[in-house]
Structures are given as C-alpha cells and as structure tokens.
C-alpha cells in the first residue's frame, strides 16, 4: 500500500515534471520561432547593409592604397614608371628574429657590393623571412608576383631556401644564397645557386678536424631544421668512416634556450668532444652556458653559425673552436670594419660575391631570370670569399678555416 502510494507519488511527480518540461519546450519553441521571424527580418536588412559595408570598405581600401602609393612613390602600381632597363633583385632573409644577425650581415654585404658595382639600374627589395618556411613562401610570392624580380639573394637559412626553391624554379627566377649550406640544395633546381659550399664539405672538414686532434668519441648537438639535420648527417658519416664513434646525437628546436635535457643525455655518453651545429645564436649561447653549468668536460666545437658577436660576448665560450667558411680577403675585412665599425661577420663576404655574380650577369646584358641563369652557368671570377665558379648544380667549392675564441675574439688557428 505504502509502496504503491510512493510509486504513485513518484510517477505523478515525474509526469508533472514531464508536463511542465513539455510546456517549457513549447514555450521555448514559440519563442525561438518568434526569434527566427524577427531575425529573418533583421537579416534581410542586415544583408543589404552588409553589401553596402563591404563596398565601402573596399573602396576605402583602394583609395587608401592609391593615396599611399602616390605619396611615397611606391612601385606597387608601377607608378614610378621604372624604365624597362631596371633589374629588380629580391632579398630574403631574417631581418628580425633570432637569426637576425646573419640576415643583417648579409644585407650589409649586399649593400656594399651594390655600391661598389656602381650599377644604376638595379633595385633591391628586402623581405624579412625570419628563417621561417611559411614567411619565406609569402615573401617569395610577393617578390615574384608583385615586385617582378628576376633574381633573389636568399634565403639565409637552408630550411627557408628549400621551402621556396620549387617556386623560384617554376617561375624561372634565379635564387642565389650566400649562406644556405644544406646538402639538399645541390639538387634543388637549375635556377638555384649559392656562393657558399655545401655542408658535405664542411662535414668532412669538421670530422677530420676533430679526429686529427686525437678525439675519438664525438657527440653532436644540432638544430632540428634543414641546416642542422643536413650537416649532422654528413659530420657523423665522415667521422665514423675515419674510425671515430658518434656517442650521442641530440637535436633541439630552433630558438630553444633550455638544452639541459639534451645535454644530460650527452653527458651520460661521456664524449670527448661536442660539436654544436646551430644557426640560432640564442640557442648557441644557451648551449654554451649550460655546458659549463653542467660541468661537461668535452672539447667544444661549433659550426660557422657560432662565429658571431653574441657568442664572442659569452664569457664561458673561451676556447671554443669553430669551423668556418672563408672570412673574406684582408682588404674586404678592412673595408667592412671601415664602413660598419664591426669585425667581419659570417656570410658577409659570400653575400658580397653573390651580388657580384648577379651584377656581372647584368653587366653582360641579362635582364630576366632565364638570361641571368644562363650567364651564371658560365660565370667565373675571383670573389672576396674565394674563386666563384658554379658547377652544374649551382654549387661552389670552397675552403674552410679554423678559428678559436681567445679572450673574446675569434683568432685564426693553424690547421
């Protein structure tokens, strides 16, 4: 009896709830339907308003851009009426971001070469790519489609160069890099050149250097991008073929400043030498500091990316040994110091030569990308970073030097 009454109460309760919920739902449905009617009215008007709005926005934009270009004489619309004689060259590299010091060094080299060449009909358009593949793609699309460049000096970082090489190739625009050393670039295309040797050579040179110093256990700390991966592979291959042993290989993300994890694993392997392959000064500095903090007792080597002022300023980097490409002729080094007040920076000589390669092609009458390419295929001259002659892949051969950091300056070492 009690049970049934409870059940009865429960069912009534549920029923009541159900009924009230139904009512609420019905109410809501009504409300929603009202809303929909209202909104459809509003939307109708809103639709018209939207079109007018878009129209106004677009017209405003166009007016704005026209005003801007006529005031600044920008070439977006071809308003400055450049003569058909002008050759436009693009520059792609990191002008901001952690690799900016390389970008600016190369920019200086290019500007020096432009000035020294005394060419009047060449215009350089600079794009900042921050060593990022995506930025590089945006930049090259703009350079090719809007600025209509015939050639591009860049990119600085191998990863960015490889990302855009197919685009340059397809559009028959010459790309000449002063600093991209990844072995992959050798096969990147007919229009892809460089005035810096591929890391297949530096890897061999570095391996021999370490081996010749009597060190047999090598650990490698490398940046996880095209440059680092390429170099690491060649270094390891060469070192092992000489008879050495690579006991640890650790990679880090570009810009990462906490390398303790990687260094912990490296330390465990007890290497006699650590080779740092990095084109990110922030990471290089962090690595050097943390190596000291963790008490890793190995001889430290670095690729040419470490031959920069930030590293020189790092007090703990004393005795760092760097393998580097040519630092330029003494005359060029002196000119650089005179004009910029700075000690010669990596890749500036190579940048000077890359502009000059293009300049010589232009002086021979080349204007378009294909014409410049044909000229470069047969070019041979003596540049400030060495002899420039492109092989069938657009590569140059080169020599390397060894530098040691002594008292905050990089000193050429015998090797």
């Amino acid at each position: 009896m009690v049970y049934t009454s409870i059940m009865y109460k429960k069912t009534t309760k549920t029923l009541n709830i159900h009924i009230s919920l139904n009512k609420i739902m019905a109410d809501k449905k009504e409300k929603v339907e009202e809303n929909v009617e209202e909104v459809e009215k509003v939307e109708g008007e809103g639709g018209g308003n939207a079109l007018v709005m878009i129209g106004i926005v677009i017209v405003a934009l166009i007016i704005l851009v026209y005003a801007y270009t006529s005031i600044t004489g920008n070439a977006i619309f071809g308003f400055d009426g450049f003569g058909s004689n002008e050759v436009r060259i693009g520059f792609m590299g990191p002008l901001t971001g952690d690799a900016a010091s390389y970008g600016h060094a190369i920019k200086r080299g290019v500007e020096m070469a432009l000035k020294d060449s005394k060419l009047q009909n060449v215009k350089i358009i600079y794009e900042d790519t921050r060593c990022d593949g995506e930025e590089a793609v945006s930049a090259i699309n703009k350079l090719i489609n809007i600025d209509k460049v015939s050639a591009i000096i860049g990119d600085v970082c191998s990863g960015a160069t490889l990302a855009v090489a197919p685009i340059a190739e397809q559009n028959k625009v010459v790309m000449i890099s002063a600093s991209s050393t990844s072995p992959e670039i050798t096969n990147a295309g007919e229009y892809i050149f460089r005035t810096i040797p591929s890391d297949t050579h530096q890897g061999k040179f570095g391996a021999e250097l370490v081996y010749d110093l009597g060190l047999r256990n090598l650990s490698i700390l490398y940046g996880n991008e095209e440059y680092g991966v390429g170099f690491e592979g060649v270094l390891k291959e060469n070192f092992e073929s000489l008879g050495g042993l690579v006991v640890a290989e650790e990679s880090f993300e570009r810009g990462s400043t906490d390398l303790r994890t990687q260094l912990t694993k490296i330390r465990k392997a007890r290497p006699e030498a650590i080779y740092i392959i990095s084109n990110s000064p922030d990471s290089s500095v962090a690595a050097l500091k943390q190596i000291k903090q963790m008490g890793i007792k190995a001889k430290v080597f670095g690729s040419e990316g470490l031959k920069g002022p930030e590293i020189a300023a790092t007090k703990v980097a004393e005795n760092l040994t760097i393998t580097s490409v040519s630092a330029g002729t003494p005359a060029f080094v002196e000119q650089y110091m005179r004009e910029h007040g700075l000690a010669i920076q990596p890749f500036a000589p190579q940048a000077y030569d890359s502009f000059n390669a293009l300049a010589k092609a232009i002086q021979n009458g080349a204007r378009t990308g294909s014409e410049i390419k044909l000229q470069l295929d047969n070019l041979k001259f003596s540049g400030v970073s060495g002899d420039i002659e492109f092989d069938s892949n657009g590569d140059v051969s080169g020599s390397y030097q060894v530098y040691r950091l002594v008292n905050g300056t990089f000193v050429l070492a015998d090797y």
Binding site: G255, D258, T264, D282
Partner: protein
Amino acid sequence: MSSLLLQLTLNGLVAGSIYSLVASGFSLIYSTNRFMHFAHGVIVILAGYILFSFYSLIGFSFYYSVLSTLIYSSFIGFLINKTIYSPLQKKKTSSVILLIASISLLILFQNLIQLFFGAGVKDIDYIDIQKGLEFYEATITQLQIITIIISSILCVGLFIFMKKTSLGKEMRAVSNNKELADIVGINSSKVKDLSFFIGSFLAGLAGILISLEQNVSPSMGTNLIIKGFTGAVIGGISSVPASIFGSYIIGLVENLGIAFLPSGFKEAISFFLLFIFLLFRPEGLASLRRRVK
C-alpha cells in the same frame, strides 16, 4: 644510468618549480574567480621584460628592479581584471567567453612585447655562469636551488594562506558561492581584485626567477601557461597547493620520460597528460583525497 636518472630528477624538480610558480598564481585566480585567466602566462613574461628593461636597459640596481617588477606586475594583473574581466562578468557572460578573452589578451600582450622588444631572446646578465654544485655526477646551479626553495615555501605558505587566514577563507567563500558571500558581508569585488593582485604578484615572482634562469623571449608566455595550466589541472585546479603539486609531477614526468623517448617528445608528454586528465579526471588528483574521505 642512475646518474642519468638523478640528473633528470633534478631537472624535473627545477622544471616543476618553475611551472608551479606559474600555476600557483593561475590557480589562485581561478579558485577565486572561477574562470581561466590564460593571460597569466604573459604577465609572467612581461615581468621578465620589465626586469630586463629596468636592470639591463636603464641600469637601476638589481633589487630596485626586482621590487619595481613585482609592483608593476601586480598592478597590470589588477588592471586587466578591472578593464576586461569585470565588465564582462557584470554582463553575466559565461566562463567560456572569459576564456576566449583571456587567450586574446595573451596573444595581444605577447605580440606587443614582440613589437617593442623584438622576437629574440633577452639576457639578464645578473648571475655569473659557473659550474653548478655537483653530487653523484648530477649538477644543479645555485639559482635552481633557490627556485626550488622559493617554490616550496610558496606551496606551504599559500596552503596556510588559503586555509587559515581570513582573506584566504574569504577567497574560497567567494569562489564557492558569490551571492552568499555578498550576503554574509564579504566584499566580493574587493576580494576578486585582491586575488588578481596577489596572483599577478606571484606571476611577477615567477617571471623574475624564470628570466634569470632561462632568459626571456616573447613566446615563452604561451608555453609556460600551458605547462602551468597542465600542472594545475593534474593537481586540482581549484586548489593552489594541489596545483603546485601537480606542476611538480609534470616537471618530473616530462624529464624522466625523455630518458626513454627522444628528447623532442618532452612537450608531447605534457600535452598528452593534459588531454588524458581533461578527459578522465578534470578535477585533478586532489579530488581523490576528497573521495577517500
């Protein structure tokens, strides 16, 4: 192998301390206001930049710079609440909107910093680099030890604060039931303001230690708040001591995990843990204690 594990454990404790410094402020703000203040991460980094500006750029003394940083951070956090979150809350927007607003603030501040200071890393050259203290082939630097100590003190201190002091209790009251707290006579808006003040003060502290230890770059804020948030979720986001505890767990798991995995997977470990916990135990480990009771 054991020296490797010892070093990784130490690394984990250091990482855990850093994350817990971030998580503590975040959790304090969440537990009082009941929404996620993701922009907390960028206050941490902003503090690092303020320290950099005062100490390395302008050249004020170190202690003056530290003090200013703490004061400025607290104020900025307080201002953000006053100008963005409070107005939104008055309109009774859901915590999801507040979440999105806080993420927008995070992106906004991060990019403002990048605009003004550049995207590179800034070095605060206060500590000399030298080899750390060593035991059993594992090294740890003095600054790292100090960080661990401060973080532990914070853990205990905040625990006492939340449980014993009247302000702490008021904060918990407001978070539990704002209306009731108002009725009982607690000035809930003042309590909320204070929570932002104190939480951002903690962010400032975190920023100072982190920037001394690792330097600062604009994108660090996002990374830190993700880790701090993960730690808080694992520990129990509404309890400050639990969040700190959870952060240590993240730090340790991350670092010990890469003994077995390639180093690149360190971040992935945290993300996976975050996702798993959000799916299966969003209240965090702290809820286990309550269930046992």
